[in-house]
Symmetry: C2
DNA sequence: CATCCGGATGTAACCGCTTACATCCAGCGC
DNA sequence: GCGCTGGATGTAAGCGGTTACATCCGGATG
């Protein structure tokens, strides 16, 4: 039976003839190796765990899809647990996965929960998604670079008064995007940006509310950059209700390129993030850590690039709207007519 | 050590005092039971496998979410494998899951692949999603009922000439929706419906193409019912390009209530399917089959209810458009002016 | 006081595989 | 002919639990 094991694992030399016999016998007996016994013996399950918070549809599925194909390719399986609303639940699952998996991919964008980071098992290969922690491997999105790319786009169109709708304060992605915005604004010579930064929490409603506030600013910004697409969509709705033309009177930009971004009116200019790639790379990093436990010191980083997607929601600010003249719909309407 | 096992499983009587000692020791030693050893011994992994074809974002994540929460609640884990483009790949994964899971939830809506059904392990509890097979447990969506509900809605508004954009011929969901449409049409006294049924394959492009064909029918239908939302969205785009007012000249309805359905212009009237519930119930059925293997004869069925969601894309047909007058854009434009 | 009883705990076989080590055997050089 | 060598295969000791069965022990019973 040692020989059978050798044949099935193919890692040792077996006589050609014997090999054939074993294979034939296995075939006729419908033999299927017992996975549990093998795991017990080699202390490896060829399974990786994925723990996600309660993230939404497209993101959730794309991350998993990315990890899934990479894992399948490497002969690994994935044990998934999503929609954890609180840290306690997450820790519980993390505990239950112990022993079942060879490594873990954990997404916990809310850096606030230091308790979680402390409780992560230290004896298991682990990579973090969209959050960092000294001494642990992590994959992040190039939020800073993406935000700067969008700002370059807007600035290139001629915008200077650009408002920004922020994400949750404790969210790592949101913070980086904000950092990118601020840096770009300084580059445009605008140093006092605080009044141009509106609070938001990544929901459509918060985007809606923030957009209404932006309309009251004087001078009124000519462009609005939301830290994610959901808020940009909310903003678009608010602007439509207020009768503000997009992009005529106000350019709007988002971040993420969620699927509906191309269907809203007007289609949204945004930053695309290749989420499946995020998953793929996370698995790659994890696999490396699993296969060479003593491998290069932990703390490896990998960053996912972003792409600027220009659609119809952004354009150059019209000359007359850059002045802070109070909006007068009839008048503007006539002027528009003259122009065309 | 037998006693330790008894304490940890709590299934046998142990002296109060001993129990405390064991627990204390386990605590100080950071003892964590080895899952593989336990599975080997009790021949159960407390894990269920989920195998999905290459389905899209929202559906994928919702099904998994539904199963996930139900499973977690019951102390089970889920092993996921998605995005299988062909049957061979699916079978491979199915094989690899053998021994790793106590049961399987498989989605294979393309009934055409009888080979798959034959190759499904027969010694493992298994429930099918959106496809049926004699003698196997299955959960389906109430496609027939949903389609009828939508038809009742349209008929109630006064529509009689209703076109239908079909889904892939071998897709079980698509077939049932078509059946619902036909039955309802007979109820409306329309017996020859074939010319009102346009081919489609669940993609936006096919919906776009089908809508253009519908515009050429005489008498022109006053309503269009697509077998899924993606095609309805495509149709909406086609109608907008052709300058056909929705819902004024043509009511449009879809099926699924995908997230963007509420963001398109006009918001889409559709049939909502509670997908998370689909997953939840599938797990429930599977759990039953796992816990009483000899349980009631296999072949249990469960059906997910659907809900009619009325939005802005449907309304009563204007009186003049129910006649079969040939469309004349200028003329219709003037008439409209007179009405308002 | 010997026997019996039943609850609590200890013992060891077993789950099915991997793998270090033992064994076997053919070919080789001396 | 003999000891060696090395490749192929057999043997058995784990891996870390579960659980049937044996054992132990204090109290009730005859």
């Amino acid at each position: 039976m040692a020989t059978v094991s050798r044949v099935l694992n193919g890692k040792e030399v077996v006589r050609e003839e014997t090999l054939r016999q074993v294979l034939a016998a296995a075939e006729t007996l419908h033999y299927v190796p017992n996975v549990a016994a093998r795991s017990l013996s080699i202390r490896r399950s060829h399974t990786v765990g994925i723990v996600l918070p309660d993230v939404h549809g497209e993101f959730f599925s794309e991350v998993i899809r990315g990890i899934d194909v990479a894992a399948r390719h490497a002969g690994y399986h994935i044990l998934v647990s999503g929609s954890h609303s609180d840290v306690g639940e997450m820790l519980e699952v993390l505990g239950a996965m112990r022993g079942r998996v060879d490594g873990l991919i954990v997404m916990a964008p809310d850096v606030a929960h230091a308790s979680l980071h402390q409780s992560l098992p230290s004896d298991l290969p682990l990579v973090l998604l969209n959050s960092t922690d000294e001494g642990r491997d992590a994959i992040t999105i190039d939020n800073y670079g993406g935000a700067q790319a969008m700002m370059r786009h807007l600035a290139g169109l001629g915008h200077v008064h650009i408002a920004f709708i922020k994400g949750p304060a404790q969210n790592a992605d949101a913070r980086e995007r904000l950092r990118g915005f601020r840096h770009a604004m300084r580059g445009l010579g605008v140093t006092a940006t605080r009044h141009l930064e509106l609070a938001g929490d990544f929901t459509e409603e918060s985007g809606h509310a923030a957009a209404l506030k932006i309309l009251t600013l004087a001078p009124r910004p000519t462009a609005l950059f939301a830290a994610n697409d959901a808020m940009a969509v909310g903003a678009l709705a608010a602007l439509a209700e207020a009768g503000t033309a997009v992009p005529g009177e106000m350019s709007v930009a988002g971040f993420d390129d969620i699927p509906i971004a191309r269907y809203v009116a007007p289609p949204l200019t945004t930053i695309r993030v290749d989420i499946a790639d995020l998953g793929r790379r996370a698995f790659g990093l994890l696999l490396g850590a699993i296969e060479q436990p003593a491998g290069s010191a932990a703390g490896r980083r990998d960053c996912i690039a972003t792409t600027l997607i220009v659609r119809k929601s952004s354009c150059s600010p019209a000359i007359h709207t850059t002045t802070s003249a109070r909006p007068d719909r009839k008048l503007r309407g006539r002027r528009k007519g003259e122009e065309s």
